[in-house]
């Protein structure tokens, strides 16, 4: 599996309004500018597409940062 930096970088590319290099693994994903439910769906779609892992609503609720999201995906793949 890719590392957390690459994970964050690839996910950042999915968000149209986020400038490249803005998001870090330690960023709280809910602090993306104009964060909405749409961003949560984009995260689910990205993880499904890249890792064939279908995140649940509770996974998103539990995670704070991109690092947390990465760990959840990694654990599901283990």
């Amino acid at each position: 599996m890719i590392n957390v930096d690459k994970f964050t970088e690839l996910l950042e590319e999915e968000f149209e309004d986020v400038q490249k290099g803005t998001l870090k693994p330690t960023t709280n994903y809910r602090e993306i500018p104009d964060f909405s439910s749409m961003h949560a769906l984009i995260i689910i779609a990205f993880v499904d597409n890249e890792f064939d892992v279908l995140l649940q609503g509770k996974d998103l609720k539990e995670a704070q940062t991109f690092d947390d999201l990465y760990t959840i995906v990694k654990n599901k793949l283990a």
């Binding site: 309004d17 104009d34 909405s36 439910s37 749409m38 949560a40 769906l41 984009i42 689910i44 779609a45 499904d48 597409n49 279908l54 995140l55 649940q56 609503g57 998103l60």
Partner: protein
């Protein structure tokens, strides 16, 4: 050859949208915490439509049927079966299809049937129409859909109000080949999704009791309240519909590259975009008109089909994969092939 029993044909398709246009400007006035631009950015929808208050699905469905008879060379007396799909029937009984038979002036000798399958309703209804034709029960099936989301959208659920619009359609399915042949169907059902997309307080399980009357969320609602768990619906869609697509292809002896056009239920931009990406469908083979009508529930596939036709995207000898999915959960689809 894409079907094993290619004897039912989707000959005519027509649709009807109400005259009230719900623009992003209008929604931004109603929900001042959002700008027009933000509404568009969140939904990629420019406008939706809403019927006049008080119009029932039997009225809307009848109007859609009349429009088809005005536009297409088929007479009311040629129809021997009517299927009506809606999430907002006039009554629990009688069936709204009976009321439409009378309002539309169809022969009293016809059979009728109501369907309640929401966003998978069009493909479900088409499969029943095909079965009625192929079994010899009927020669010409009129299949009407009419969904009036505006009657059950709670004002406090902004996302639902941004997404859904009213729409109706009418199709004629016959043995005689005039239009598209209808292929083999695939289905899926998972009732564990019952509460993830539902119209509450519409029947026996949750009658309109005192709680309903006093709940401020129900202000302005008379026919139940739509509730949707957006995350679960999204997960369901991106999990099941690629699998459904593969099953449809297999069941019709077809490869994905042989499909000329994909018309999925116009659920939401993010769902459509994710399905397109997951199935690696090229832009020119993926039709969407969500931006101009919103999610019209059971009418979305026929509206998209007619719009694709108007835009010159449907040509002779094309294979078009159609798939509906949503409430239930339920999902279904087939391949239709245009004439040579």
């Amino acid at each position: 050859m894409i079907t094993k029993n290619k004897i039912a044909h989707l000959n005519y398709v027509s649709y009807l949208l109400p005259s009230n246009i719900i623009t992003n400007k209008l929604l931004a006035e109603r929900y001042p915490e959002y700008t027009e631009n933000q509404i568009y950015k969140n939904t990629r929808i420019n406008k939706r439509f809403a019927v006049e208050k008080g119009l029932l699905s039997s009225d809307f469905g009848t109007q859609s049927g009349e429009k088809l008879f005005n536009e297409c060379p088929i007479k009311k007396e040629d129809i021997d079966f009517l299927i009506f799909c809606t999430e907002c029937p006039d009554y629990n009984g009688p069936a709204t299809s009976c009321i439409i038979q009378h309002k539309l002036g169809l022969p009293t000798s016809i059979g009728t049937l109501d369907l309640s399958f929401g966003c998978s309703g069009y493909t479900y209804g088409l499969s029943i129409a095909k079965a009625l034709i192929e079994s010899g029960v009927a020669k010409n099936v009129l299949f009407i859909t009419a969904d009036i989301a505006s009657t059950f959208l709670p004002a406090n659920d902004i996302n639902l109000n941004f997404l859904f619009g009213d729409g109706a359609s009418a199709s004629v399915i016959s043995k005689k080949e005039i239009g598209q042949s209808i292929g083999n169907f695939c289905f899926g059902t998972d009732g564990s999704g019952e509460r993830n997309l539902m119209i509450r307080n519409t029947a026996y399980r949750e009658p309109k009791d005192e709680e309903w009357i006093t709940n401020p969320e129900n202000k302005g609602l008379t026919n139940g309240r739509l509730e949707m768990d957006g995350v679960d619906i999204f997960r369901f869609s991106i999990d099941k519909i690629p699998k459904l697509t593969e099953e449809i292809l297999t069941n019709n002896d077809c490869k994905i590259e042989e499909i000329d056009l994909f018309i999925f239920h116009q659920a939401s931009t993010i769902i459509l975009k994710s399905l397109k990406r997951k199935l690696r469908i090229p832009d020119d083979k993926f039709f969407t008109n969500l931006a101009e009508v919103g999610n019209t529930i059971s009418a979305s596939i026929p509206i998209a089909f007619v719009d694709a036709h108007k835009q010159g995207k449907i040509k002779p000898n094309m294979k078009i994969l159609i798939a509906g999915f949503g409430i239930g959960y339920s999902w279904s689809g087939t391949i239709i092939q245009t004439k040579n």
